[in-house]
């Protein structure tokens, strides 16, 4: 866990930021190289600048995405319990940029029990909220992975079916109720006050480590740390075979000497996203892992577009067949074709990343599939 985050917040970062103009805040955030920590990694300063520059009259909003639903990810849970004030500070700094009077925290339903800590933090920030006429409301999700998508959240808060929206326009231009909206996730907002205290290091980030480990948990990793060194800290159970980046990031072989950089993960066909790493050991089957992840996507597809709604279902049928030892080599070919189809034709990021676990598993662990096919 980030040591600077664990120091008790006394609003020093916020106080420093409030002395600046919106343009100065944006320049400082840009300078820090902070990128979104929710998965997509978009530069935060640029996002804020786009929202500030967006035209139109009337209200502007700030929205904190606390719908951390990616399987294997739990770093935001830790921030919400250990450092909720940092998140509130970050939200208030964003409010300053947009002169927004209303902010929302979209908290996933599975984290409903963390609401008390969040409410307490909002209460503690009252002097800063009151002085600037800002109101922060918590909206509680009710169990939907798609609500981790920033535009699905907008629909969810507006009382619509939470399907993702077409982008552009981006939320920074047309967000909540059609107004410019800054949307960032928990970790991103928590980092913002640290920038103003000179305690932010863009080379470090939080990584949720779970799976076949004795000491699963949240670790702070520096860009370029070796996978083997990281896993040693978490004490693997058995012999690590693969690293699975959440449900949507793909599966790659474990190489102790591999430096953990986005480029290295991408080179292997996967995507690190929020850096949630599920460690798989030699006793567990990659085919079974894919079947389980596929069932998850069938359950969580919002059903809006056909490739995602139908494609994921067909892929699950094939994986179940293969898993039972009834698959054929032709099934593997169809699986590969379906993966490519979904990656290129689904409407939103959920659908386009859903088949990544299959395409990377077929690339790196083909023999495990082949072994089960006739």
């Amino acid at each position: 866990m980030n040591s600077a985050l664990l120091e008790a917040s006394n609003f020093e970062g916020l106080k420093k930021a409030l002395e600046k103009t919106p343009e100065e805040i944006i320049a400082i955030v840009k300078e820090s190289s902070l990128k979104g920590r929710g998965g997509a990694g978009f530069p935060t300063g640029l996002k804020w600048e786009a929202a500030l520059k967006a035209g139109g009259e009337g209200e502007r909003f700030v929205l904190c995405n606390a719908d951390e639903g990616e399987p294997g990810t739990f770093k935001d849970r830790l921030i919400l319990t250990k450092a909720p004030l940092n998140v509130i500070e970050g939200i208030l700094i964003a409010c300053r940029v947009l002169d927004a009077k209303k902010a929302f925290i979209y908290l996933r339903g599975e984290y409903a029990h963390h609401r008390t800590a969040l409410d307490r933090a909002i209460k503690k920030a009252k002097p800063y909220l009151g002085a600037n006429g800002i109101d922060i409301s918590v909206v509680l999700g009710e169990g939907a992975y798609i609500c981790g998508d920033e535009t699905a959240i907008l629909n969810s808060i507006e009382g619509k079916r939470p399907e993702p929206r077409k982008k552009p326009p981006y939320p920074a231009e047309k967000g909540l109720y059609g107004k410019p909206t800054i949307v960032n996730n928990v970790e991103t907002f928590a980092m913002v006050p640290l920038i103003f205290l000179g305690k932010f290091d863009s080379n470090k980030r939080l990584c949720s480590l779970s799976g076949d480990l004795h000491k699963a948990g949240v670790f702070e990793i520096s860009e370029g740390k070796q996978a083997g060194t990281l896993l040693e800290l978490a004490e693997p159970i058995g012999i690590p075979k693969a690293l699975c980046f959440g449900a949507s990031g793909g599966i790659i072989p474990f190489d102790p000497c591999m430096e953990l950089t986005e480029a290295n993960v991408k080179e292997r066909g996967a995507f690190p996203g929020t850096w949630s790493v599920i460690v798989i050991n030699h006793e567990h089957s990659i085919v079974e892992l894919c079947r389980s992840i596929q069932a998850f996507f069938v359950h969580e597809s919002c059903g809006y577009c056909a490739p995602c709604r139908e494609g994921n279902l067909r892929m699950l049928e094939l994986l179940e067949k293969i898993s039972k030892g009834k698959g054929t080599k032709k099934d593997l070919q169809i699986l590969r074709e379906l993966s490519a189809l979904l990656e290129s034709s689904c409407f939103c990021a959920l659908g386009r990343s859903a088949p990544l676990h299959v395409s990377t598993a077929l690339r790196h662990f083909f023999w495990e599939f082949e072994e089960k096919c006739t």
């Binding site: 209200e59 951390e68 639903g69 990616e70 399987p71 294997g72 990810t73 739990f74 935001d76 849970r77 996933r108 339903g109 599975e110 984290y111 409903a112 029990h113 409301s137 909206v139 509680l140 999700g141 009710e142 169990g143 939907a144 992975y145 969810s156 808060i157 507006e158 009382g159 619509k160 079916r161 939470p162 109720y177 949720s208 480590l209 779970s210 799976g211 076949d212 699963a216 948990g217 949240v218 699975c244 449900a247 949630s276 599920i278 798989i280 567990h284 892992l289 389980s292 992840i293 069932a295 998850f296 359950h299 969580e300 919002c302």
Partner: protein
Amino acid sequence: MAGKKILLNELGLEQKRKGFVSKEKLKEIASKACVPESEAFSAATFYSFLSLEKRAKHSVLVCNCPSEQLKGSEKILGFLEKRLKVKRGNATKDKKFYLGETSCIGLCDKAPAMLVDGKPHAKVTIEKTKEILGKLK
């Protein structure tokens, strides 16, 4: 948006209060949130934690994400199915328990985990599961 209620919050409160959202209540909430009733229905039927019919008195949801499966969540589910005499995704005959699976609940570092009436239980074992069930009246 001034004075408008957030549909999802209102639906969630009703679900917590009554264990489901009745058709009449849905209509009332939709009007408070200034959302057409059809839209409210469409939203209410989307979320896993909302239900338009009373499922059961208690809900037992076992997390089935990959990290949990690696740590034996399937064993816990299997035990619960036997003990409650019900298949996952269903309620017991006496409508006391609903047994289901849930997507990741963010407790992968403490797997296997489950949500019982919305309350998280981590590092569950069969023994611990028996205890939890025993406490539900």
